[in-house]
Each structure stands twice: as C-alpha cells, then as structure tokens.
C-alpha cells in the first residue's frame, strides 16, 4: 500500500556497519521535525535494528489493525518493522522466506499519505536489495559509504548496479575521519554527493 507515498528512499550499502540504520533513523526523525509526513520501514528482516536506534521496545509498541496494519507513531515517524512480530529473537531465514516476509509486510502495511518513506536495509546484494529494486516504486537510493578501503569495493558494486538500472542515487559519507573523500566515486557513477557525517 504505497500508492499514497510520494517519495521512497531506501538506505543501502553492500557493506555492513557503515551506518545505514543510523542514517535512516536520523533522516526520518529530521524530516518529521521539519513537518513532513514520514514513514520508516526496517527491511532488515533477519536482524532488525531500527527499533533499537529509535529506542523502542517492539513487544510493547504494536501496530493497530485498521484497514491493514497501521504503523505506530514514534516521535512523529510512522514506524514499521518485523521486530513487532519476531521481537529480538533470532530469526534465521533463507532467501525465499526473506522475500515472502518482505512481500507480506509491504502488502499489509497501511501507510496512508506520506511525503517520504525511508527504508532501512541489511548489507549485501541479496534478496532484500533485489526486492527493494523490484517492489518499491521509483526508489531514490541513498548509498551510505565510509572512507575505508574495505568498504569501497562494496559501494562501487552498489553504485554500478543502480547506474545500470537507471535509478536515482545519492551518496552519504559516514564516519569520515581523515580528509580523503568519496567525491570522485560520486562522479564516476553519476551519483549526487550529499556530504559527510563526521565520526561522532
């Protein structure tokens, strides 16, 4: 039920631990404070963590059943996560089960009218990433990167896919420590560089 959602922004990276969850949560909270109608969806279905960054207990907070499932409001953000149903228990899933869970969540969540839906995703080029590109309407991907050498190959692989699929793409540089930036990467893959977030 994404028909009344104006913009969908998946936060992605091939590498883990670069700050996707933090960037997704802060982006959603910031947009809400600016008066936008905003939703946050955690698609990291086997290891959800957006609820931890938001500081909510998924067993206490629950969506309402109303023409589907209505995400609860957290600090002005409509928040949806499978953690409402799996709590913090281990939930190992193989690919087809990940895909089914994501389809189910997308089918039943009643977002209502939104200016912006931010989507947190797990790392890697796996079912979740392919589902984001396949099921979400006109995704404007925010690629999160760090200046680390190990992370760089991952960003390149993600940007290459976004470019070949003709999707809008943005880069945020997180945990910048030194001076070396990722501007040239943005240039190489024709992505918009949105700036950097310093290490704490």
């Amino acid at each position: 039920m994404l028909s009344k959602v104006k913009a969908v922004v998946p936060v992605m990276s091939a590498k883990g631990g670069v700050g996707k969850t933090l960037v997704a949560v802060l982006t959603a909270l910031h947009a809400a404070r600016m008066g936008r109608r905003v939703g946050l969806l955690d698609l990291d279905v086997t290891s959800p963590s957006a609820h931890i960054a938001l500081g909510v207990d998924p067993q206490k907070l629950q969506p309402e059943e109303r023409d589907g499932v209505v995400p609860p409001d957290v600090a002005g953000v409509k928040f949806m996560t499978v953690a409402f149903y799996t709590w913090d228990k281990p939930t190992p899933l193989r690919g087809p089960a990940v895909d089914d869970a994501i389809r189910e969540v997308l089918a039943v969540t009643n977002w209502g009218e939104l200016d912006l839906l931010v989507v947190d995703t797990p790392p890697g080029l796996r079912d979740e990433a392919l589902d984001v590109l396949e099921y979400l309407p006109r995704p404007r991907v925010l690629a999160v990167a760090t200046p680390s050498r190990l992370a760089r190959a991952g960003v390149e692989r993600l940007l290459a896919i976004l470019e070949e699929q003709g999707l809008e793409r943005y880069i945020v540089e997180n945990m910048a420590i030194g001076a070396v930036g990722l501007e040239e990467l943005a240039e190489k893959y024709h992505a918009r560089y949105l700036g950097r977030i310093r290490y704490d």
């Binding site: 028909s3 109303r66 228990k89 939930t91 899933l93 089914d100 869970a101 089918a107 039943v108």
Partner: protein, 164 residues
C-alpha cells in the same frame, strides 16, 4: 485454458489504484483481500478472462475465512464476471533441511501471542519453532504458509492472436 499460479501473498507492488467497497474494515485481513482483488484486476486488464479463482488459506497464517468470503464473493464477480470463487484450507507442513523429516502444526505448541505474530508475518514462525526432531531452525514451509491464489483463465475472444 491456462493456469496462472502465483506464489506467496499477491499484491501489486507498484501500487495500482485501489478498489471499491468504500468501507473501512477493522481487520488486517482487509489488506490481503485488497491484494487479491488487485491481482485479479491485473490479470483481467492484461486481457484474460478469469474462469475460476481459488483462494488457498494457509493454516499457518490462520486468516479469518468468513471475512475473506464476505468481501471476495461480492467483489470478484464485479471485476471478473462469470468467475467461480473457491476457498481451500491448506494444512501447514514443514520439512527440515538438516534431518529431512516433516511435520505439521500439531507437532508444536504455540501460545496466543505467538499465533498472533505469525498471523501477521508467517515467517515469524522461524523465531519460535525449531524442528521437533533435531532442533534445527533450517527448515522449509512446504505448504499452508499464507494466502495464495490460483487462477484458471482463458484468452478473451477479441484479444486472440499474437501474444507478446
């Protein structure tokens, strides 16, 4: 005659204009009903005549059959005139990838809160249920997961000829 079988819950991810029946239903089942209606609409729009719609209701998700029937029996003839609507309940079955054994829901115990969680996202079962024979969480839901649709269709007369 042609058989279109789709896996999993069906929905139109790109958000086709939603449907009819202007009444807000207090149940989450309503979203599933909408997904089914959108799917049938899509097939009709592609130029098929829908002869039969079978709605499989998986035991694991345990949706409210009477709610489904109440809406679908009204809605489907409106968008697919002449279509027969059937309902089939599918028992849940699991097969372990580690020890190869199979079991059903009668082999496990689930409390009320767990059943509720699984009702919304059937994959929550992996958080609560392990293989009763070897303890593994690496198993497949071989049938009876959730709502599934099978359509029997034929090409509409005026549309026959080359298929794209």
């Amino acid at each position: 005659m042609e058989n279109v079988t789709a896996r999993g819950v069906l929905f139109n991810p790109r958000g086709a204009p939603l449907l009819l029946l202007g009444c807000a239903n207090p149940l989450h089942e309503w979203a599933l009903i909408r997904a089914i209606i959108a799917e049938v609409e899509e097939v009709v729009k592609k130029g098929y005549k829908v002869d039969e719609v079978t709605v499989y209701l998986g035991e694991l998700q345990n949706v409210d059959k009477s709610v489904m029937e109440a809406y679908l029996n009204e809605a489907i003839p409106q968008i697919a005139p002449g279509a027969q609507v059937r309902y089939e309940t599918e028992p849940a079955r699991f097969r372990c990838r580690v020890c190869g054994r199979e079991w059903g829901l009668d082999a496990v115990e689930l409390d009320e809160a767990t059943r509720e969680a699984i009702h919304f996202v059937p994959e929550a079962v992996y958080s609560f249920v392990r293989c009763p024979f070897c303890g593994s969480r690496d198993y497949e839901i071989t049938q009876g997961r959730g709502v599934r649709l099978a359509l029997v269709t034929s090409r509409r007369q005026e549309e026959t000829g080359e298929t794209r």
